[in-house]
Each structure stands twice: as structure tokens, then as C-alpha cells.
């Protein structure tokens, strides 16, 4: 294994590309770049950093994404198509099991709910034109046939491109394999300043003004920690915190082989119940009223969940943009500095690692992805 450098003792070193952020976004880039032969360093904060990657629900999700932005719908679909190969490559290299499997349901509690979902999906289909994916609408009786344990709900939409994985193993696999490929992982090292160098490239410094490294190019992928760094590089990053809470139950025999946006059974048997959304800033604590709502909603779908012991619950903070779509940007004033932000770190990991890493090497985001530029918010504001 390549030597890993721990903590702030690591010497100042130059590299091709520095990635700021060691979560799912940063690690996907770090791995993707190392895999393409780039000498890169990945900077990460400490053990208790607000870490969206560790609070993840683990969905590789397509259904319903990109309503109002066909580019995002197509990007999510591409991610789903790349995911199997992406997982296979990581599993072969690391020996870890990412537990990726496919087939996802979005449950609808009422008829109106089901109708609204179907309308949204049809709208997305028409936006995606020839690349559109298919989905199935399951009324209650059809759903009950497929899932005998389902409760008294109106139905669901099913999409074969949706899936789930073990997001913790995904993060570990990316960390493990990017280091095998020669990337340097630098935990407990918070980058605070970016300075352009006279002859091109950038220097990174920590809060004490200590030099951390010099790099030709930078990828800012530090989630909520990205904002201040992006500003220094002339990049606008309109993101806010969106809190989600998740309940984990005890391990039980397999009872739900698909996945869904609010309930999934993990490969080790626990059920994850989730999908709350609260605007409470950077607060990762759980609260009983939110957990009660999640429990009631999920028990309506599967009444047997009521019997299960709750093992634990957690809160995590999503990186949310004003319209929920990704924000990708290449700095005009600091060429070679890229910033990526999105809330679908697991789904898009395949795209970031296998596609977007090449953009950084090439030095430009393809014009086909202009929709992801934050200038879209100015257009809306001026209307």
C-alpha cells in the first residue's frame, strides 16, 4: 500500500491536483484523479467534522430527480448506468462489499400523492426527450401483489434504475483505493486559505498560515466547509444546510428486497427509515417530534415495522442548493480551481469519479453542463 501521511506533520509538497474535502464528493474525485495517474492530495477535517458522507441514507436514486432541469435528470440516469461497473471496480480492488442492488419504489400514501408523482415523472420524461427512462405505476392491489407486507397506502411508482448501497463501505473503499493508487490522504488538516502563485498554480494554507501544499489545480468539494474557500477563489456557492434524520432498527431477516426513498433494508438486516427535511442550520441532533413523524409515515407503508426495536437514530446535514440541483463551477479569476456541490453524493459518486475527474484534468467543465453553473440563480432573480 502507498504510504499515507497522517495529520499536520505532513510536509509541504507539491502535487498536480489538491482536493479539499474527504467526504463522498472529495473522495470520488480523489479516486478518479489518482486512477487517471494524477498526483493528488486529499485534505480532510477531523473526526467530528460535520460529515454528510457518514449520515447518508445510501440511495443511488434517479426517480423524480431533475424535475425542471433535464440535464440533472440525465446526469442521475448516467450515474445509475455507471454504478454497477464503478462498484465492481472498487470491490475488486479493495475486497470490500458495497452491497449495491437495484429496483426502487416511491410510496404514495394517497391517490393525489400518487397522481402527483406520476405527473412529475411524465414531465421529466418529456424534458429528457429520447433519453427518458421508464417507470411503472403500481396501484394498491398491484403493489400488494409484489409486496404482501405493505399497509393501507394508495400505491407506488417503481423504477429499475433506482438502487441502494452501503455508503459507509463506499467511503471506505474510495479512501482505501485512492491511497493504493498513490493519492495522499491528509486528515485533521483544515485548509483555510488559497493563494495564487506567480508562475501558475496555488498554495494552500491552514488557519495558522502554515503552508500545506502547492498544486497546479484545486477541487473544492468540502460540503459546508466549501463556501469560504470558494469565495476566496471568486466562486459563488449558494448552499445551505438541510437537516435529515434517520432511524435504524435492529437486524431482522430479509423482508424488503427493493429499496425506496424512505425505507430500505441494509445488507446486514437493519431497516433504515428516513427522509425528513428540516431547516435548522448545522444542527445534527435528533428530535423526537421529527423521529415520531418518520416512524408514523413508515409504519403506514409497512405496519410490521412497529414491532422492530430501534437501534439508533442520527441527524445529518445535507448540502442543499436553492433549487436542489448541483452547482458545478470553474473559477474565471482563478483558472484551474473547480468547485462541486450537491446533495446526491452517493448517486453521483460514479459520475464524479469516472467522468467529472477528467474535466478537472482537461481544465474545463464541458459546456453541456452550463445548467449546473450558479449563474442560473441570477437569471431567476432578475425576472
Amino acid at each position: 500500500m502507498a504510504s499515507s501521511t497522517l495529520g499536520a506533520q505532513a510536509p509541504t509538497r507539491s502535487c498536480d491536483i489538491a482536493v479539499i474535502g474527504g467526504g463522498l464528493l472529495g473522495s470520488a474525485f480523489g479516486w478518479g484523479l489518482a486512477r487517471r495517474g494524477q498526483v493528488c492530495q486529499v485534505f480532510d477535517e477531523g473526526d467530528t467534522a460535520v460529515r454528510t458522507a457518514r449520515g447518508n441514507f445510501g440511495l443511488v436514486w434517479v426517480q423524480g430527480k431533475g424535475l425542471g432541469m433535464g440535464r440533472y435528470a440525465r446526469w442521475s440516469l448516467q450515474a445509475s448506468r455507471l454504478w454497477r461497473g464503478f462498484a465492481d471496480e472498487l470491490e475488486a480492488a479493495t475486497g470490500l462489499d458495497l452491497a449495491y442492488s437495484r429496483g426502487g419504489l416511491r410510496f404514495a400514501h394517497s391517490e393525489q400523492d400518487l397522481q402527483a408523482t406520476v405527473n412529475n415523472l411524465k414531465q421529466i420524461q418529456s424534458d429528457m426527450v429520447e433519453e427518458a427512462y421508464q417507470f411503472e405505476t403500481l396501484e394498491h392491489s398491484a403493489l400488494k401483489k409484489r409486496l404482501p407486507l405493505v399497509g393501507d397506502i394508495a400505491g407506488a411508482t417503481f423504477c429499475e434504475h433506482d438502487g441502494h448501497c452501503n455508503p459507509l463501505m463506499l467511503l471506505r473503499a474510495l479512501h482505501q483505493d485512492m491511497q493504493r493508487l498513490g493519492a495522499t490522504y491528509r486528515p485533521n488538516t483544515k485548509v483555510e486559505r488559497i493563494e495564487p502563485l506567480a508562475g501558475g498554480g496555488y498554495r494552500l494554507l491552514d488557519g495558522q498560515g502554515e503552508r500545506l501544499c502547492e498544486a497546479e489545480k484545486l477541487v473544492i468539494a468540502a460540503g459546508h466547509g466549501s463556501r469560504a474557500l470558494a469565495e476566496q477563489s471568486g466562486i459563488e456557492l449558494p448552499i445551505h444546510a438541510d437537516q435529515g434524520q434517520v432511524i435504524v432498527t435492529e437486524k431482522v431477516a430479509s423482508a424488503f428486497s427493493y429499496t425506496s426513498d424512505i425505507i430500505r433494508q441494509t445488507d446486514n438486516g437493519s431497516f433504515l427509515l428516513g427522509a425528513s427535511s428540516r431547516d435548522v442550520g448545522m444542527d445534527t441532533r435528533t428530535d423526537l417530534s421529527t423521529l415520531g413523524q418518520i416512524a408514523r409515515e413508515c409504519v403506514q407503508v409497512f405496519p410490521f415495522l412497529r414491532q422492530l426495536r430501534m437501534q439508533r437514530a442520527w441527524g445529518a446535514v445535507r448540502v442543499m442548493t436553492p433549487d436542489g440541483f448541483p452547482v458545478y463551477q470553474h473559477s474565471k479569476s482563478y483558472p484551474g480551481v473547480f468547485s462541486f456541490a450537491c446533495h446526491s453524493g452517493v448517486t453521483l459518486a460514479a459520475c464524479h469519479a469516472l467522468e467529472a475527474a477528467q474535466w478537472v484534468i482537461d481544465g474545463a467543465i464541458p459546456s453541456d453542463f452550463d445548467d449546473f453553473h450558479p449563474k442560473r440563480f441570477h437569471v431567476q432573480a432578475s425576472i
Binding site: G7, D44, E45, D47, P187, R285, L291, G292, V299, Q307
Partner: protein, 480 residues
């Protein structure tokens, strides 16, 4: 309906009981604050005086004079009509609020909520984990658990056994076992025969005011020697081996190393102990800052001189705040009352202030005694150098070797280790393995253990069902 009180105390051991009693026995002219005491057991006393209120006389005499002497004051506090007691009750969630805290509780299967302006954590100590190769083998048990069985059910082992480890409890429990007629095959001490060089100064400093506890310790040692129990000192490494003839995989032998030599001892039962550490699970769950105690090698809540944590509405005392022993815990309860009352706008009575002063005076020699015990019984090396095949997390069966592998990936602390390996994700929620994981990571990365942090505590603190979550509203059961 949500039940409301001024002060909620979690833990009805010596600290919680004496605090509750002091809070309500002030000046008779003013109405006392409403005080609720919550505990998982069926009556007061905590682990140390477990079942003292209902103990059979012959067993009580085995358990000792100090155990028996707690009975009158525990009784008096238990019968105080101004204290609301909720026994057989677990707090499974604590939400700090601006004006206090809200607890989610479960009493005999019933869920209810309690709001308090102040929460006092008197959650006591837990045994320091003693990881060694094979410690998950049936037949390896902690001394604390064995002593609980003795106090609760009068059960003593009916087979010859081995004691392993160090600490005052080892000597006390050996005495209690001998008195109960149990055959002790051997005592394997992880420490030296006499006083450690580092403990002599603390011993002389502790002597004034502590003749009685130090004399008792000496007596227990002599009793052990007189009973001609074989004793081995400076045990540096231990391996538990299952009995090849036993289909259930029970313990067959202990292998242990003294200096460069390995020895084998055939036995079916070994009781292990390496001292106690504060149970900080609740404090961490409340978001109280913890601080690393270098002297006792453990985490404890960061408190000001009155016992207030970094969350101003949450206070802590007793062994859950710092290991000081049961007598100190009792005096700490008396000492805390005036400041806690004042924080709620009560004028502490002259009687309360006088008792507080007396408590402070009583605590001074106990602090000197503790410095001696800390110096004489540091955490044992036999449980510190954790071999690769030792299971550090028994819930998820994660070995120290696995933790060392991820340490090489630059794992920045115990929480990253948890997400990478599932260590600490099992039913004990990392209470048992947190310190061991940090120790292994620290060793592999050449850092101090305190730099690796402690597990973020997740809800629920006690098992509840998804159905319980669905229906949270419920009335408080009648106290008592």
C-alpha cells in the same frame, strides 16, 4: 401530557439519593423545589449499595459493614414524601431545551415524558473494559457482574474460580467470596505485590484521616494471604482458551505471561476487573463537553467547581463525574445542593449551607485517598497492549487487527473508525469498546489516546420500538 419538575436526578445511588434529600430538606418556611429521582433498579442504592434496602441479614454481613451502614440513610431518603421516585424507569432520550431538558422515559413498557429545569446526572461508574485475547469466551466474566449477582440474588459461583486484574474491588470481592465459601484457585494480579514506587508519597499523604479505609484494605490483603490462595503478581499478558471438550465453547484454561515466561492454569471461570471509570454515556448524549482525565485514564464530563456542565441546565456528580468512591459521592450530593438551589432562584437555608461546609471538609481526605488509589492501581498493561486477535467490539465482533488496518488509511478518530468498520454500532452503542478502539488507533498512529476522541452518542439510550416512537404522548405513571 408532559410531567414537569424543577430538578430531575438520574441515578438513585449514593450521589443522587443524598442530593435529592439535601434539596428538599431546607428551610421549612419556603416550599421545597419539586425533585424527581429516576433509576432503572427497583429501589435506591445504586450499584454499590444494590439491594441494601431489602438484603437478607446473613448476606448483608458478608457484603460488609459499610454496605450495611448505608441502609438507614437510604431508607430515610427513600421515604421522604417530598421526593418523587421513578424506579424501573429508563431515560431513552434527553433533549436539552432553552429552559431545561425534556426526558423521554419508559417505565414498565409505558412511555412518558418529563420536563425539568435542571437535570443532574448521577449515573455512577462502569467497569473499565478489559480486552484480551479470548475474553468473549463463556466463563470469562467481570467481577462487577458477579458481585451484582451476589447482591441481587444471593448467587455465588459453585465452581472454583480465578480472579484476574487489579483494584480495591478485587481484594474486597476476594474477601466476600472466601467468606461465602467459594474456592478461589488463584489470584492473578496485573500489578506488583507491594506498593508501586509512584504510590508511596500519595500513601503517606492519604494516611491522615483515612486510617479506616487503608486499614481495611490491608486486612483484606492479609485475609487473602491467610487463606493460602495462590497469588501471582505482574501478569503482563493473558489469553483465554476454550475447553476443546466443551461443545458450548466454554473456558478451559487461562494462559498468562509473567516476564518472559508463559504459564497455563486450567479453569472454567475467571472474574476480571481493572478498576472503574465514569459512565459518561448520558453526559455525551446531552452534548456536554467531556475532558480527558490523565490521572484516571478516562473521559469525564467537564464541570465547574459547583458541578455544572458545559450545558448550563445539566449538572453531574458522583462517580459519573469522576471516580471518587461511594462515600465521596454521598458528600458531593450534600455539597452540590446550595449551588443548584441558587441556580433556580432559591435562597439556600442556613442549615443547608452548614451541611455543605461539613461536606467539603469530609471530601478533602477522600480526595487524598483517591490520589493514592489512582497511583497504586493504574490501568493494567495486560489489557492495554491489545493483540490483533482480540475482539475490541464484542457486539459486532471487530478485532483490534481490523482497527489497525484502517488506522493505516489515516482514520482520524473513533467516529471515522465506526463508519468504516461498524465498531461500536451494536446494542451497547460503543459504551464498552470506545476506549479500546481509541487505544488501538492511538497506538497504531503514535498519538495520545485522548486525541482519538469518543463516540458521538446516538439516540435511543435504551431500546425502544418504532411503535413507541409512533405514539409518544402518554401520561406519567404515579411516582413511588
Amino acid at each position: 401530557m408532559i410531567h414537569k419538575v424543577d430538578i430531575a436526578i438520574i441515578g438513585a445511588g449514593p450521589a443522587g439519593m443524598s442530593l435529592a434529600q439535601s434539596l428538599v430538606s431546607g428551610d421549612e418556611k419556603t416550599r421545597p423545589p419539586s425533585v424527581a429521582v429516576i433509576d432503572e433498579q427497583k429501589d435506591g442504592g445504586g450499584q454499590v449499595y444494590r439491594a441494601a434496602l431489602r438484603q437478607a441479614p446473613d448476606l448483608a454481613s458478608v457484603l460488609g459493614q459499610e454496605y450495611q451502614s448505608a441502609r438507614p440513610w437510604l431508607q430515610e431518603a427513600s421515604q421522604n414524601p417530598d421526593i418523587q421516585f421513578y424506579f424501573r424507569t429508563s431515560a431513552w432520550n434527553i433533549e436539552p431545551r432553552e429552559d431545561g431538558v425534556e426526558l423521554a422515559l419508559v417505565s414498565a413498557g409505558r412511555n412518558w415524558r418529563l420536563r425539568a429545569k435542571r437535570l443532574v446526572l448521577a449515573s455512577g461508574a462502569m467497569e473499565r473494559p478489559t480486552p484480551f485475547s479470548g475474553w468473549q469466551t463463556p466463563g470469562v466474566m467481570t467481577m462487577g457482574a458477579a458481585q451484582t449477582l451476589m447482591k441481587d440474588a444471593g448467587l455465588v459461583p459453585d465452581q472454583p474460580l480465578v480472579l484476574l486484574g487489579s483494584g480495591p474491588l478485587l481484594y474486597l470481592f476476594a474477601k466476600q467470596l472466601l467468606q461465602s465459601g467459594v474456592s478461589i484457585q488463584a489470584v492473578l494480579h496485573t500489578g506488583p505485590r507491594g506498593l508501586r514506587a509512584a504510590a508511596w508519597a500519595a500513601f503517606w499523604a492519604a494516611l491522615p484521616g483515612n486510617f479506616s479505609p487503608l486499614g481495611k484494605g490491608l486486612l483484606w490483603r492479609m485475609q487473602l494471604a491467610l487463606a493460602r490462595v495462590p497469588q501471582v503478581f505482574n501478569v503482563a499478558e493473558v489469553v483465554a482458551q476454550p475447553d476443546p471438550q466443551d461443545t458450548a465453547g466454554g473456558l478451559g484454561a487461562l494462559r498468562y505471561r509473567v516476564g518472559g515466561h508463559w504459564h497455563t492454569l486450567q479453569t472454567g471461570l475467571v472474574l476480571v476487573h481493572d478498576g472503574v471509570v465514569p459512565n459518561t454515556h448520558l453526559a455525551a448524549a446531552c452534548g456536554c463537553s467531556l475532558t480527558w482525565d490523565q490521572q484516571q485514564a478516562c473521559w469525564r464530563p467537564e464541570l465547574d467547581e459547583t458541578g455544572r456542565s458545559s450545558q448550563s441546565q445539566i449538572w453531574a456528580l458522583g462517580d459519573g463525574a469522576r471516580i471518587m468512591g461511594s462515600e465521596a459521592a454521598r458528600w458531593q450530593g450534600v455539597a452540590m445542593a446550595p449551588a443548584l438551589l441558587e441556580s433556580l432562584g432559591y435562597q439556600p437555608s442556613a442549615a443547608n449551607l452548614a451541611r455543605c461546609q461539613e461536606a467539603q471538609r469530609r471530601l478533602a481526605p477522600l480526595q487524598r485517598l483517591r490520589r493514592f488509589l489512582d497511583a497504586q492501581f493504574p490501568p493494567a498493561g495486560a489489557f492495554s497492549e491489545i493483540s490483533d486477535d482480540t475482539q475490541v467490539c464484542r457486539c459486532e465482533a471487530i478485532s483490534a487487527g481490523e482497527i489497525r488496518r484502517i488506522a493505516g488509511l489515516g482514520c482520524s478518530g473513533v467516529n471515522q473508525a465506526r463508519s468504516f468498520t461498524r465498531v461500536g454500532m451494536g446494542p451497547c452503542m460503543g459504551r464498552q469498546c470506545g476506549a479500546s478502539v481509541a487505544k488501538v488507533l492511538a497506538g497504531a498512529q503514535g498519538k495520545p489516546q485522548s486525541a482519538l476522541g469518543y463516540f458521538t452518542v446516538r439516540l435511543p439510550l435504551k431500546p425502544v420500538t418504532v411503535g413507541d416512537l409512533c405514539a409518544l404522548e402518554a401520561d406519567a405513571p404515579a411516582s413511588g
